[in-house]
Symmetry: C2
Subunit: 268 residues, 2 copies
Amino acid sequence: MKRYRVKPGSKVDLKEWDPNDRTEFKESKEEGKQMLLPLNQKIDELQELLYAEHRHKVLIVLQAMDTGGKDGTIRNVFEGVNPQGVHIVSFKKPTLDELDRDYLWRVHRHVPGKGEIVVFNRSHYEDVLVVRVHELVPKEVWNQRYEQINNFERMLAEEGTIILKFYLHIDKDEQAQRLQERLDDPQKRWKFNPGDLEERKLWPEYLNAYEDVLSKTSTEWAPWYIVPANRKWYRNLVVATTLIEALEDLNMKFPDAPEEWSKIRIES
Amino acid sequence: MKRYRVKPGSKVDLKEWDPNDRTEFKESKEEGKQMLLPLNQKIDELQELLYAEHRHKVLIVLQAMDTGGKDGTIRNVFEGVNPQGVHIVSFKKPTLDELDRDYLWRVHRHVPGKGEIVVFNRSHYEDVLVVRVHELVPKEVWNQRYEQINNFERMLAEEGTIILKFYLHIDKDEQAQRLQERLDDPQKRWKFNPGDLEERKLWPEYLNAYEDVLSKTSTEWAPWYIVPANRKWYRNLVVATTLIEALEDLNMKFPDAPEEWSKIRIES
């Protein structure tokens, strides 16, 4: 999935990234959906190994525009994976206690321990996205956060964390369609929020802010992947495969147990 | 108290720092003890202002060799200060949960919010002190922590935290005397720990590790102060005065309230 990785130091122009791209999986939608199942099983196996080895920590960051598919990605990619081994942390509007401290405070407390996978549904990146777009802090403040974030993630990586960051890339037409679906479907209508339309008006500002995030914070130790996300099945396959590749690169092993243990017979 | 501040980038040789120094307060021990009381009151006033203004966050880090006087400093400097405004956090041997994460995880969750003073009794510096001396992690790991710590503290400072770090400097003879006192006094004997004698044998290794800490992590945004601490009353005056100077530099003001409010008469 190297093609979707943002090269550290490169300048990202999202117009050059096709949200409909399907280079890696040319199958039909139905075939693509079927292909996810064995990947779920593979992730489940790798998660057990990660837990048993108790050495690495895995942090996955998901960011996207509204309706970009963060919830759907989590549900689909981690379906069938032992829920005890994967922790999903959703970051909403900060509380007063959180606002009283630095913006990394609330995310740091949820980073994975050894043997754990943690998924951030939104993250500290909101502090250079929504916070920037709505001018919730002055530019001097948010502008120094890119470097702070790189340093923070670098420390996590140096202390044993594998970090994968996914930007689920949809275009504005796709968002229109998904918002309309929410309104039309009585079972989805609850997900609609009139504020979404206000945010949608700020699409260019968000795009701009995302381009800066992707350009300034894709690092060797915590790379961003720009996932073509107009097609949900394709998006799921890209995220799942990227995760599997990263976990396989760890060359994990089950801990050694003494050979003699195999001879133990437990009396009933 | 500038004389005790470690100039960022300078190389510290603790032999050149006199733990008996008394340049700033030439009074007698009795007079020195009396002088602390008005400083306590001043800190209490400044703390109230800090709380009311709800803008700055204050983090104080205390480090010292065993018997160096961390507990005594806290008791004496913050006596008479509203306990609701000052939080003392003592870091002991890490738990399994803490060891499973990066070493900054457990300290970050306790950093001050706006309007708060937090005192760290021991801190993340143990992860380049005891951890280094006892080789609890490989050199590659602890050696990259100085920069990680500087970056972490810099982020805190950029996000509005005033950081003051005190190394309470005693010499080896003073430690011998204090340990002996613990053994001799039935009311203090409980504080003695046979492990202290083992640690005492590692005095040169600790001194070395402290010199590296003081040389590498005294920064403009989070300076170290080397406090002459053989005399307890002198140590208290230096810490209290340094804190007062730092708080006064903030030029804090009580929040404006509408002039008309002074005319309100509350009916009984």
